[in-house]
Amino acid sequence: NQPVSARGGRALATPAVRRLARELGVDINMVTGTGPDGRVIADDLRAAASQPPSDTTI
């Protein structure tokens, strides 16, 4: 029963923002975060979601 560890290499974001990404259909790992230390915030997702799909996946 080892505690599961922080997963490396994925976007830094709060649980609520991660959920929002799924709801918006945005791959959070492809979004550039504008929060502290590159943190993805809700507005980043909304901006990404309003882009044409090709832009969000580059």
């Binding site: 029963n1 080892q2 505690p3 599961v4 560890s5 922080a6 997963r7 490396g8 830094l12 974001a13 709060t14 649980p15 991660r18 959920r19 799924r22 709801e23 259909g25 230390d37 943190r39």
Partner: protein, 475 residues
Amino acid sequence: MVVGEFTEQADLLVIGGGPGGYSAAIRASQLGRNVTLVERGDIGGVCLNVGCIPSKALIELSSRFHELDGLAKRGVVTEDAHIDPVALVQTVTASVERLTSGVRQLLKAADVQIVQGEASFVGPNEVRVRASHETSRIKFKDCILATGSSPRELEGFVVDHQHILDSTDLLFAPVVRRDLIVIGGGYIGIELGSAHARLGTKVTILEMAPEILMGVEPEIQRTLRSVLKQMGVEVHTGIKVKGVKTTGDAVVVEIQAGSTVEQIRAGAVAVMVGRVPNLGDDLALGTAGVGIGPEGRLVVDEQMRTANPHVFAIGDIVAGPMLAHKAYYEAKVAAEAATGRPTGNDATVIPAVIFSEPEVASAGLGEQEARDRFGDDVVVARFPYRANGRAIVLGAAVGELKVVAAKATGRLLGVHIVGIDASNLISEAALAIELGATIDDLALTIHPHPTLSEMYPEAAEVAQGMPTHIATQRG
């Protein structure tokens, strides 16, 4: 259910009524599904009936009993303290009854249809349910598997509930034993072994691994070993258990440490050497196109979906720590996924608690794990309970809180606590890590005085190199 082999239809079928199963059923119903839940035993599963709940009830009472001597010295004097084992078991049983009846009511309120019986697959979207006097079939659109786990058996030890016991026997026995051998120094063995020691039983714990509580931070293992020793619990590690003989009213356990073979004797021996997922042949998983993966667990994707796109699996039967809160979390992901919602199992941390005395709790990366991963970019800081005002007034100055963080960014990676109330303290760390909080965030958040939670900003200040309530040290 109808008698015979009539076939019923289920919109969403949940197999297993433990923490995983019952909470998946409630959530799926809230999301608009018609839910049928099959349970072969008691609603509440291991956790509510013979796990988390009764164990914590026993542990709490044993701690209250054990602290009476210390309290007398501090001014709260009692005479003739003793355990009334019958009342104790009644209290334990009452907690179980209260919670399981609550869950039954919640399932009813959520319109979940409960079917008593044991399910096994007869096709990719159909199960047969065997109850005592009847069998039936249920065709499902979607299914959530939550069959949980059972105690691992130890060769040569046939549990007879008299002299050779399992964890359940230790929870509901209306007697304080004179002595007891516990095989297994994992969290269940430590929790129940030390609880019985506090009740007055002479306990000997045998562990095969070189240390108890494998995976826990080494200094916490040491703290616990020293506390167990003070309590009179004998702990032997690196021990191979060879066999057991029952002689009259005692058991004799043959053990091997290195090349020496010894015999130890006690009134009873309890076997708590881990748990195995309930995925046996009876379940006929192959029929459903669901294959068993590594460590005998089911392989699922991020949405808890098995190889069969309409069958989800959660809880002890899938990878990760076998803990109730993991099952609760996964249950909601599976219920959402089965309902076509965008969802995913992406929690950063699954905290873990050991309800020993003192308690142990951790969330996130261990110190070594962090150093392995991030090398020099790691800062570790500790704050001891003995420098915390609340701990002192509680008369509970043993323990410490350790934070592990990234050096460059200050981001919190892990927290490890040994000490009173660690179980309730650790959730702040889980939230902090999920939110990406930093050492500065912890240090600058005002924590009320005098509380144990002040150890968070205090440890954060140690990491900053500017501690308030201990002299400067830095890791």
